[in-house]
Amino acid sequence: MSFVKLLESIVLQLVLRIALGGIFCFAAFKKLADPQSFAEAIKGFRVLDVNTVEPLMVTGAFVIPWVEMIAGAMLILGFWTRAAAATIGLALLGFIGLLISIIAREIDASCSCFGDLNFGCPDKVGWCQVLRNAIMLTPAIYLVWRQGGLLALDEVLARRADARARVALSAADSGDQDAVAAR
């Protein structure tokens, strides 16, 4: 591995994996700590009619954070990195679309993206949250492209599988040679 590639692997892939995965795990934890608030935020987005699909919205208030938590944890571990990054990327695209729809409809909605924390943006949904999600989308796309990098479980498992395949191949090779010698 060249020095530049090693540096990219350590600095970019590892750091981005831990940062993005950590952000999503934290966001999921904050939402799961107060699912009532997140359910109310979903209701406030006014995409679905609460009178007809209330159970669906309440279940969504649990499912969305759990998907974020699983994808975030997998990203940190570097396990199924491409799929985890793709999940986060798709979630971010969905959130961006939803936020733009809320802004366009001029709804006074609370984001609840990180529970009761706002991280530099006002609580009310606006372009700040769209920009924040777009910024997070960039490393997600990068990780879909480049995958886990150094210290990723994918890498470790791939290396182990590679080594196993090589042993099997060499065993097969030596078996062939023995057979030739016997002839």
């Binding site: 009532q36 609460v50 209330e54 309440v58 499912v63 954070p65 759990w66 985890a84 798709l90 009761d116």
Partner: protein, 225 residues
């Protein structure tokens, strides 16, 4: 194809765990249903002058006779008589439309600006359900900052425990069709607070436009209503 399968597996695992979490969470469960006015609240006379929630155009006591009406120079729409309370006095036709913004109609189960102001004059508790930045820019005089999420927090519960059970509590948010006040009302019900909760049908914007008492930060000179 492998990535797509893994992606679906992540989503499926999240769905299973989320659904299981929703089922096993137990009480108080998560709900999004609006809290209907309780029977005790609807039948009992909760205030000395007979104001009842959910009856914005009731023919009960005329608030303008009971308290000094706040200055109200706004006439949202032309009407035959813009004087306060003239359209809702005893014997008036049911549900007349008043030109006075204080009597502007509200949804069932909510109170008008006039009823809220009267409760304010009687010393009712006011909870501001808006976000912190809106609250810090100005709020109804004496109001406690209490969005739904804060009601569950230790800080919020310290404030709520200060309010004696059974007291009249008016919750408001920005105005229009804002949900925040209903969210706080729902949270108080889930936390089993025994307050006589009223929802202000209009919001803070309407309150300041009616020139009713507000607290503003000292440096916000330009925010005078």
């Amino acid at each position: 194809m492998r990535t797509l399968t893994q992606l679906l597996a992540i989503a499926g695992l999240g769905l299973i765990l989320g659904a299981a979490h929703a089922i096993v969470r137990g009480e108080p469960g998560v709900t999004l249903r609006d809290i209907a006015p309780g029977p005790a609240r609807a039948t009992d006379p909760p205030t000395p002058n007979g104001i009842r929630s959910g009856e914005p155009d009731s023919g009960g006591a005329n608030p303008s006779q009971a308290v000094d009406g706040p200055p109200s120079e706004q006439t949202a729409e032309p009407g035959p008589d813009p004087s306060p309370g003239s359209a809702s006095g005893p014997g008036a036709d049911p549900a007349p439309v008043s030109a006075d913004p204080l009597d502007a109609p509200v949804h069932p189960g909510q109170i008008t600006l006039r009823e809220a102001f009267e409760l304010f004059e009687q010393g009712a508790w006011f909870l501001d359900a808006r976000n912190e930045s809106d609250f810090s820019k100005g709020h109804i005089e004496g109001a406690i900052w209490m969005p739904a999420s804060r009601a569950s927090s230790n800080d919020g519960q310290d404030d709520l425990n200060f309010i004696p059970p059974g007291e009249v509590v008016v919750i408001y948010c920005t105005g229009g069709d804002c949900d925040a006040s209903k969210n706080t009302q729902r949270r108080l019900a889930l936390l089993q607070y025994d307050f006589d909760v009223r929802i202000l049908g209009k919001g803070y914007i309407d309150w300041i436009e009616a020139d009713l008492p507000v607290s503003l930060p000292e440096d916000a000179g330009g925010d005078e209503p």
